[in-house]
Subunit: 233 residues, 2 copies
Amino acid sequence: MKIGVFGTGVVGQTLAEKLESLGHEVVMGTRDVQQSLTRADKDSFGRPPLKDWLAQHSAVKLATHAEAAAHGALLVNATNGMGTLDALKLAGEKNLNGKVLLDISNPLDFSKGMPPTLFVCNTDSLAEQIQRTYPQLKVVKSLNTLNAYLMVAPRMLSEDHSIFLSGNDTDAKNEVRGILRSFGWKDSEMIDLGDITTARGTEQLLPIWVRLWGALQNPMFNFKIVMEPAPKA
Amino acid sequence: MKIGVFGTGVVGQTLAEKLESLGHEVVMGTRDVQQSLTRADKDSFGRPPLKDWLAQHSAVKLATHAEAAAHGALLVNATNGMGTLDALKLAGEKNLNGKVLLDISNPLDFSKGMPPTLFVCNTDSLAEQIQRTYPQLKVVKSLNTLNAYLMVAPRMLSEDHSIFLSGNDTDAKNEVRGILRSFGWKDSEMIDLGDITTARGTEQLLPIWVRLWGALQNPMFNFKIVMEPAPKA
């Protein structure tokens, strides 16, 4: 399948690599290709520059957001939340309309120091802002509640854990379920919270996520919903 | 131990009943004792009027917030979040100072319809508001992330699950740990998130909690943090 991934950070790289390994044709979108390739420094997580990563993942193409959007039959938003709406504007409405967008972004604002706050929450969410801006895009919020490595390799934890889905379109959610399944998620781990407004719930998990990371000194954890009988939603 | 419980709703009743059954002397605080005893209707959950509940739990005394606060060596805030600061004002600073307050309240605002929004979040929390208003009260936020019945009977779920603690005072948190242990919580299930500002994390779990309740059609669930090795914080 042709997939466009917006964002070249750790989430974008991890998703692109996994999707490519599953046989998809992946184009990764960025604001300015030349500038992205010029960067020579390691990022704040100590990861190598993008050009080195691309050299090791030559099947993944780097292009503009518009080219990635035009390429993809399925789109993945792995941009920094602060830059999401700008990136989608560059992608272009005509390249987005009618497609499914798996939205992994979070409205984290690091500008006021750590831990980050949310620049939209409570009565709105970033996922809803995207859906309102592009009414013909089928936004499905998922995977935004855990570390990138666990998103694509949930079986790294031996126990079951939970992954949430929010979105207005049932077929689009089913398409995302298929992607999650291909990453190793079990159907019994997927919880459909309802329409896109339920993304307020998962985006507001981030404040405890960042504090758990601090308390546990380990980002490789996830939330599991424990219930008897086990959740089926 | 002498314990004052603020609030006479389902959370207050459930906590008071459990604490009384464990041998504590419990006084339940309310704004207006006579008015609380006069109510004859079932509440919105179909629970019997308070006077019937008190008739069945005669060891629990009903009194004003001030009397409950003066009575308790340990205090429990089980009021509706909207009424918390008013209730504590009625309790009186001199009755609060130096004591531990287990704060179970959540800043839920039902005035704009369902699902509720939060009247404080993101850059502040209700727990912090309480702590700022009463600097000599030792506020420990806990138990606010699950159904009242599960708070006092965590072993109703056969699997382990997680309970969070936030507060500035280590001794106060240890006192709350003791109460949690007496309810059946395991030490391995308790996660100390850090100081009272981390209550922003647990209070912001409520938006997904209410949506999970809707999606699962069952309030008897809880969050479990899954990690390898298991969390120790």
